[in-house]
């Protein structure tokens, strides 16, 4: 097991190399993943700090001459149909898109972990029930219901989307965690812990869970990218983040007619999304390689 192998290393080199240290070391060798990490950090910083630095306010409407202007020195990415600065909106929208991406993944993770951990650890009837429930959720077509739920749940905006995406996204994680728990709970240290009298909950959360996180981390990273696209698709169709709050998705809403007269309105959100998702994908792939104990270069 990866953890035990490192103990030998510890003795030989006198340095404590935990599992995560080794993962980090291997990840660093993956150039594309490291570049992606840097790019992502840059994007996150830009979106968080950018709007504060911009001379324009997100919702500031421009005068009639300023409407639909191609990129210029004053507006590096041009203006939209209401004269608003595209760059500022892009950065602000990035905040929203990233926020949705991260929180939806996080929420899905929480639900998935809880379901998977208890199903995998206790087994028996609880397991069967939870897995039946998971199967039902799996068999429900996502897109249509996503649309319906977002149309039906009152309130606009970000948290609705996060909730909706999380409701349909926890199942894969649940299955993965359950699988990990099923195998890990047979380990001796679990028996030992029980023999000492450690409570079940503590065993689950403190002992088994940390060891089952590896595959989850990979899928979570990849899902952030996927969810950003999901949110964009929903917003684009009119169900997600509502204007005037910008998100990369709803900035593309008017793309259809803008295509012919103001192509820059179409390019910027799309490219921003593409680069972000690409970075998440490369990072996730790099993490997967780094964490796979059998994959040596």
């Amino acid at each position: 097991m990866a953890v035990e192998a490192t103990k030998v290393e510890e003795v030989l080199t006198g340095r404590v190399e935990t599992y995560w240290y080794l993962v980090g070391k291997r990840l660093k060798k993956h150039k594309l993943a490291m570049i992606s990490l840097v790019v992502l950090i840059f994007i996150i910083l830009a979106c968080v700090i950018g709007p504060y630095l911009s001379p324009y306010h997100v919702a500031a409407l421009g005068s009639t001459e300023e409407v639909m202007q191609p990129p210029s020195l004053k507006h590096p990415l041009g203006t939209d149909e209401l004269g608003r600065d595209v760059l500022t909106r892009l950065l602000y929208g990035g905040r929203i898109s990233l926020l949705v991406g991260f929180s939806s993944v996080f929420s899905a993770l929480v639900i998935g972990i809880i379901v998977g951990a208890y199903a995998g650890y206790y087994g028996g009837i609880l397991d069967t029930l939870l897995m039946r429930f998971t199967d039902i959720m799996f068999s429900i077509p996502v897109m249509p219901l996503l649309i319906v739920l977002s149309a039906v749940i009152p309130g606009s905006g970000v948290w609705k989307i996060v909730l909706v995406i999380a409701i349909f996204g926890w199942m894969t994680d649940a299955r993965i965690i359950r699988g990990m728990f099923l195998s890990l709970r047979e380990n001796e240290y679990v028996e030992a812990a029980r023999a000492i009298g450690v409570s079940n909950n503590r065993i689950i959360w403190r002992h088994i869970l940390p060891n089952s996180l590896a595959p989850i981390i990979v899928s979570a990273t990849l899902n952030v990218g996927g969810n950003i696209i999901y949110e964009a698709a929903l917003s684009f169709l009119g169900f997600g983040v509502m204007p005037p709050t910008p998100s990369w998705g709803n900035m593309l809403q008017n793309a259809e007619y803008a295509m012919a007269i103001a192509p820059w309105l179409v390019w910027s959100p799309g490219i921003a999304m593409f680069i972000t998702v690409l970075a998440f994908n490369y990072l996730g792939d790099g993490l997967r390689d780094a964490m796979d104990p059998r994959l040596y270069r």
Partner: protein, 333 residues
């Protein structure tokens, strides 16, 4: 013991692995010989390079490994210099190999009959009919009951012991001159292990093939081998016939290995089982001089600076040490 002519002569073989973290000298100047019909036991702990040596003989070393020096003279020709196509003809036909994990060494989606037959068909010019007959004969030879029925079965339908028999059948299908057994019995139950060893000895007697028997288990070596080569960190540290090695081990490592095997006597005397101090060194950080010196109770300054050469200490008995042990051991086998 009368030795036939030399079948395999490994001279100063060096196989290095070029990894991102450094160069691992898995095999660093190994030399040993196998004569026709002889069983050579290649012994050593995990990581001593014995498996890599066997893969090197078969020219199956995978990147990042590479044979960087030495010669492997098989039937008078150097295998290292052979082209891949020439080597392919030798593999399976003249040198057979069986591996440690019978569970995973057979392809799960093809029947065992198919897998044995393909070895025959690829090396011999026979019809499918004949190949099938030969396969069933082989299955019978290795002791698998109801061979006709088993022919159509898949690997997962057989037990570990039977799978290993299938592996042996496959390796022997073209009557090789040399069989390489790389820890073939390690993953089996003790009773099955004994059966497989019996089988191998039996086959060896019948066909006169030589066996390179690789293992970490000294007891097996005592049972199977005519000659023994002891490996440590990529080099052979002691080499000789089985009686000399077991009765008069000269290298401190061999001595330590033999002492750590419990015997009926140890129980009576109630002395603690001696173990060799320390651990196998990190391949990226080999000690200077003789690689065994950190663990050797007799190490001297010279040992820490110089690497000893393999030298003949008695006729047919070679040792790589500056101060070989000079104690008679009681026969344990």
């Amino acid at each position: 013991m009368e030795r036939g002519e030399v079948l395999l002569d490994v001279r100063d073989l060096k196989t290095y692995f070029f990894t991102d973290d450094g160069v691992v000298k898995a095999v660093d100047g190994m030399s040993f010989t196998i004569h026709k019909g002889e069983v050579l036991g290649l012994v050593g702990e995990s990581g001593c390079g014995k498996s890599v040596a066997s893969m090197s003989i078969m020219q199956l070393v995978d990147v990042p490994g590479k044979i960087v020096g030495g010669e492997i003279i098989f039937k008078g020709e150097d295998l290292v210099k052979k082209t891949p196509e020439q080597m392919r003809k030798i593999r399976g036909a003249e040198i057979g190999m069986i591996f440690q994990e019978p569970m995973t060494s057979l392809n799960p989606v093809y029947t065992i009959g198919d897998q044995i037959m393909e070895a025959i068909l690829v090396h011999q010019d026979v019809s499918e009919e004949e190949a099938k007959k030969k396969t069933i004969e082989l299955l019978r030879l290795v002791g698998i009951p109801e061979p006709e029925r088993r022919f159509n079965q898949y690997p997962h339908e057989l037990s570990g012991g039977m799978r290993q028999r299938v592996m042996i059948a496959m390796a022997m299908s073209c009557n090789p001159d040399l069989l390489i057994s790389d820890e073939a019995t390690t993953a089996l139950d003790v009773t099955i292990q004994a059966q497989i060893l019996e089988l191998m000895k039996d086959l060896q007697r019948k066909t006169g093939m030589a066996i390179l028997f690789i293992t970490h288990d000294l007891a097996l070596v005592a049972e199977m081998a005519n000659s023994v080569a002891v490996a440590y960190t990529g080099k052979i540290v002691e080499y000789g016939d089985v009686y000399s090695i077991f009765k008069r081990p000269r290298h401190p490592y061999t001595y330590g290995l033999l002492s750590s095997v419990p015997s009926l006597k140890t129980e009576k005397t109630k002395t603690p089982l001696p173990a060799i101090e320390g651990m196998v060194p990190n391949p990226y950080r080999m000690p200077s001089g003789c690689h065994f010196n950190p663990r050797c109770p007799f190490a001297t300054e010279r040992c820490r600076k110089e690497m000893p050469e393999l030298a003949e200490i008695e006729p047919g008995h070679l040792v790589r040490c500056f101060h070989p042990v000079a104690v008679e051991k009681e026969a344990n086998a």
